[in-house]
Amino acid sequence: MSDLNRAAPRIVACPNGPLLVRGELDLVTPEGDPIERKRRTIALCRCGVSSIKPFCDGTHKAIGFTTTE
């Protein structure tokens, strides 16, 4: 019950892909304006080439982005 109420954010670093974000957190511009979050679970781009940043658009696959050390 308490877990549900807090809905602590959890970020999954997806291999060769985005950061998958679940739970409550504020997503804002540098000015502090909210960035619209259209769904409960979001994927944030970490390859740098998405056309809908800060969200992932799947292009990381097309460029062969890898996260392996």
Partner: protein, 365 residues
Amino acid sequence: MALSETLTKQGTFPTPPFSARGPLSVRLLDLLSAAPDGDPHLIPLADEALQAATDIVHDDDIQLALFLLYGLHYGSVVETDDAWEWHPSLIALRLHLEAAFEAELRRVVPVPALPEPSSAAVAAALFALTGEDSGPSLSRYIAAKANREQLAEFLVHRSIYTLKEADPHSWAIPRLTGRAKAAMVEIQSDEYGGGRPERMHATIFAGMMRGLGLDDRYGSYVDQVPAVTLASLNMMSMFGLNRRLRGAIAGHLAAFEMTSSIPCGLYSRGFRRNGFGQDVTWYFDEHVEADAVHEQIAGRDLAGSLAEDEPSLLPDILFGAAACLTVDGWAGAHILDAWTAGNSALRVPLVTGAAASAPASGSES
């Protein structure tokens, strides 16, 4: 487009707006035109159809018959007496046709080598499988070349599944447990708009059809699509409705999501190039972002967890994914081949010539 308009309940037809394609579908449509009376024995007729078919996946009569039978569970295909849904004669017919359909799919679909039954390995294998380039691409053609008539044809093909988007996979929810079920529900909740009906993907798609002057009532364009387009939906329905195939439906959804976000960006580009605005491209724009999320959940949390929890399902997870790529690949190639040869990709022409006269979006009436 007014919000209230996008919320309009999907219309239905009092009698099927499409025709039979052979003796089996003739008989089925005839039966469904009245309430059940006795127990028609349909297996001999089904066997004749199966023996006559050279390729079940591309057979018009058999695929339409399956489409009608699954339609009894979905609704909006043939408006008929509800008692038909679980009528023993029709269930027996469906099982009989499904056995042959599944056997054919298992014969023709190339399944890759099995990974370890771990979440990470399964996700990696599915991303590798879906990342293989399979030749000429319908999405690239649509981005660069398709005209308005072709865009309308594309939506006609897509409408068979997409006006019921997510429903075939939802059959699997009670057939899964634990982590895989939670992942499936997480994806499906987003498909159904996350509690906002106007954001339901099937509803957004219906709005796009209207934006091109197409009829968004389910079944409007069944006559126009080839057997393989019906087979694509029938395959999902079969995987979803049979608990023993829950591995296949999980793999199918993973492959479907993994091959969606980049093509949807290209489709959106094609519609914008033809002068359509965001009210029309919304569906594809939405999927660019949504499916980049869903593919991660589907790979690791749905298919991957399922493989960890029930390793015996691993072969079917890969089979379902490969079957999605194979059958949808054929359906896409059918369209692309017709267009590059200068032909329509429809089985019969659009009656109304709707798309040609569709106003550019944004020009309010």
